[in-house]
């Protein structure tokens, strides 16, 4: 019998005014899984993630994280999640170290453990020199690293990563991938949202594709790849999300530029 899912999404609906962003989404993420969450722009990925992390209240359905219902037990559910938001928001007038200490404090990580984890993560991402400076002065990649550190330092059971490799240099991206794989191997669940299909194809054990607020595919990576003759995720993605459009528009654009 497989372990209980760490993340369970059932019949999720979300509406912004008249616009239906999510139309009855189902999926689960079990311990040890790295699930790629894909979709074209506006498909509802970020909306799903905001509901999962308790930032938005859904119009219908339920989300359970580590057995806690996000709607009723929001704080308990949030405590299980390590979240890297898409645009890496952080308080820019704090130093990296101050920001990490704040996050550790808010997650109630004991101070000695917080200190050790912060030191370890800072060293891992080679941020020793940068960490005492104001985040305001950071490059995009440095800011991304600090937000990654913040997501990892309370040792979450569920990782929700929205474009986590955005702006990272090659070495840091490699480290993040290794960490994600390693944590999954130790029983953590990972939801990996990205537009970089090559990375998703290599890293994820299962892939969910979302289009116009609906799940259009939810299969292990190998099975998804088998849907196209060239065994390529990009082809499958194109088929599932915009099957009728070809390259003619692009050719016109290139000619015009």
């Amino acid at each position: 019998m497989p372990a209980a899912p760490l993340l369970q999404v059932s019949n999720l609906f979300l509406r912004y005014g008249k616009f239906e962003a999510l139309k009855g989404i189902h999926f689960t993420v079990h311990p040890g899984e790295i699930v790629g969450y894909l979709g074209p722009n506006g498909a509802g990925k970020s909306s799903t993630v905001k509901v999962l992390t308790g930032l938005l209240t859904p119009g219908g359905g339920s989300v359970e994280v580590c057995g806690h219902n996000v709607a009723n037990q929001t704080l308990a559910a949030q405590a299980c999640i390590g979240y890297v938001p898409e645009s890496a928001p952080a308080y820019s007038l704090l130093t990296g170290l101050e920001y990490l200490s704040l996050v550790a404090g808010l997650y109630d990580v004991p101070s000695d453990k917080a200190e050790a984890n912060i030191k370890m993560l800072i060293e891992t991402f080679d941020m020793q020199k940068v960490a005492p400076r104001l985040i305001h002065t950071y490059s995009k990649g440095q800011r991304q690293k600090i937000v990654l550190c913040a997501a990892l330092l309370h040792e979450p059971q569920v990782l929700i990563l929205d474009e986590p490799l955005d702006g990272l240099d090659v070495d840091s991206a490699r480290k993040v991938k290794e960490i994600v794989t390693g944590l999954a191997a130790r029983g953590r669940a990972v939801l990996f949202c990205s537009h970089t299909l090559e990375i998703v194809q290599k890293l994820c054990t299962r892939i969910i594709i979302l289009n116009e607020g609906r799940v259009v595919a939810d299969q292990p990576t190998e099975e998804i790849l088998n849907r196209s003759q060239d065994h390529n995720l990009e082809s499958v993605f194109s088929q599932l999300t915009k099957p009728d459009k070809g390259n003619t528009d692009i050719q016109q654009v290139i000619a015009a530029l």
Binding site: G54, L75, S87, Y91
Partner: protein, 542 residues
């Protein structure tokens, strides 16, 4: 999970630290700190100055009760004004949701930290507003040193109660953060009240009939319904009357303040939760395309494609950014209120008509135009700030001259032609109607317009406006940073106002005054044009 004191402490410490750092480091680009004197310091300075001048103006002229009433009202008004005008920075902070919204912090702990942050800010203002009236009030006849303590307590309560009520009113409406109707109403209310107070203060000093002192000492019946009057009565009772009974009322006031704090905390906690959804709703709404009018206006105000785009962008944000409109409102509203006061008090005489014993004083007619001149730098300064300041990379990186002069000039043109000119036209109509003399009205406003144009060039340098919408609004940044320039401009404008007053006596003097303004205008344009050409050369060389 329940509310944790440790979360409250951590968040409060973080918010305070960021507020103080924001005074120097809130910049879109680069790590270079700002000026040595923080903007908040100028605001504190202004509050100290205003309260000192008002307290000294009343010192010896009125008794304890009217003195306390005026000082408490002024103090409460300025506190509300600080909260309302910079509401998003002070009471709400929309970035918190993005940064810590997903972290398990109880919303009451978060709201408590934000309220405590606000209280720190209000207490800082309160200290500035309390020092002079509390100490000088102790030296009033019939007062003693107990006044200092009692007044300080009452003023701190007033400075908390009224802004908290404003926040409560704000949170009673649906959470749509970009709708500014409520803040418009609040801003207008406080502008009108502030004008009444300031107008009263200046009238008191020069009114031989002592109408204000009489009004305050023999107040009409409705005055007994004004909450600051109740507080003033309590302070007077404590100092001059029955202190033990007053202590009981003091406890009631303290209890009310605490209860109001608790209720605001409760409302804010719910409001913060609801506001997230509100934002998402807004983001899903379709925004109307820029109107044809904006395109036509930008074509008219700018020459060249780049300048046109820049002007169009400034116009578009002027139309869509409610914070920007909110920041501009006080300047325009002040003028409207001054015109009304001038008309009602018979000080809107024609300066060019020649004096006579029956003629109305032209003081307010001249003052209104000078206030318009003084407001030009402030209006331009408002364009420096935006919640989307990080997006200003686009303007920084676009080829707009090494110092962003293209965009700065766009702001200058938009302010002059779309804010100042319409105001001038309306003022011209009012003067023409009042004086029954359109030529004098045209001359008066023409001279005023010329001064506005000159000041707009001065403001470009003085406020360091390079790229609009490129800075986050630090607490006190709005009025604090520009205060030294405004003081200088106000001095210059007052001097020009006096010159016009005397020049209006004879046509020849008026002509000399006009020539002087034209020379100043030519000099300002030459200086600006010179630097612009220099920048262009540098750009082409690089």
């Amino acid at each position: 999970m329940s509310t944790k004191p440790s979360h409250f402490r951590l968040l409060l410490r973080t918010f305070l630290l960021m507020d103080l750092r924001g005074q120097h480091y809130a910049r879109a680009t680069g790590a270079k700190p700002g000026e040595l004197i923080p903007p908040l310091y100028w605001v504190i300075g202004q509050y100290l100055f205003i309260s000192a001048v008002t307290a000294i103006a009343l010192f010896g002229r009125v008794d304890v009760l009217p003195y306390t009433f005026v000082m408490l009202t002024l103090s409460a008004l300025l506190s509300i004004s600080a909260v309302v005008v910079e509401f998003n920075e002070v009471a709400l902070n929309f970035t918190d949701t993005q940064v810590i919204g997903h972290i398990p912090v109880h919303r009451r702990a978060y709201a408590a930290a934000r309220i405590a942050n606000l209280i720190f800010y209000l207490l800082l203002f309160s200290v500035a507003l309390v020092i002079f009236p509390a100490i000088i009030g102790a030296a009033l006849r019939g007062s003693d040193w107990s006044y200092t303590l009692v007044y300080a307590f009452a003023a701190c309560c007033a400075n908390l109660i009224f802004p908290l009520l404003a926040i409560l009113l704000y949170t009673l409406r649906p959470p749509e953060p970009d709708k500014s109707d409520f803040r418009d109403v609040m801003a207008w209310t406080q502008i009108v009240l502030a004008l009444v107070v300031f107008y009263g203060a200046q009238m008191m000093l020069r009114d031989g009939q002592h109408r204000l002192e009489m009004f305050l000492s023999y107040p009409p019946a409705w005055m007994h319904w004004v909450p600051t009057w109740w507080l003033a009565q309590w302070v007077t009772e404590m100092v001059q009357g029955n202190a033990p009974a007053g202590l009981l009322w003091g406890a009631v006031i303290a209890l009310l303040t605490v209860a109001l704090l608790a209720f605001t905390l409760y409302r804010l906690a719910s409001f913060y939760r609801a506001i997230r959804t509100g934002y998402e709703h807004l983001s899903a709404e379709r925004t109307p395309a820029p109107s044809r009018g904006i395109q036509l206006l930008s074509g008219w105000l700018a020459s060249g494609r780049a300048q046109r785009s820049s002007v169009q962008f400034v116009l578009l944000l002027l139309r869509r950014d409610p914070d920007l409109r909110m920041r501009m409102l006080p300047q325009v509203a002040t003028l409207a209120a001054l015109v009304l006061l001038g008309l009602m008090t018979g000080q809107m005489g024609n300066p060019f008509a020649g004096g006579g014993s029956t003629a109305q004083s032209p003081s307010m007619a001249i003052a209104v135009v000078q206030i318009l001149v003084i407001s030009v730098p402030m209006l331009m300064h408002n364009f420096l700030y935006s919640r989307d300041f990080e997006s200003s990379w686009l303007l920084w990186s676009a080829p707009a001259g090494p110092r962003g002069s293209l965009h700065a000039h766009s702001v200058r043109r938009v302010v002059l032609w779309l804010v100042v000119l319409p105001v001038c036209l309306v003022l011209g109509l009012v003067f023409a109607w009042r004086w029954q003399d359109p030529v004098s009205a045209l001359l008066h406003l023409g001279l005023g317009w010329l001064q506005c144009v000159i000041i707009s060039y001065v403001a470009l340098e003085g406020i360091g406006l390079k790229v609009p919408f490129s800075e986050p609004l630090a607490k006190g940044g709005l009025s604090g940073k520009v205060a030294p320039l405004l003081a200088a401009v106000a001095t210059g404008a007052t001097f020009l106002g006096f010159l016009e007053f005397f020049a209006a006596q004879k046509l020849l003097y008026t002509a000399i005054f006009a020539v002087l303004l034209l020379c100043l205008f030519a000099f300002a344009k030459f200086k600006d044009g010179g630097s612009f050409v220099f920048q262009k050369n540098n750009l082409s060389k690089s």
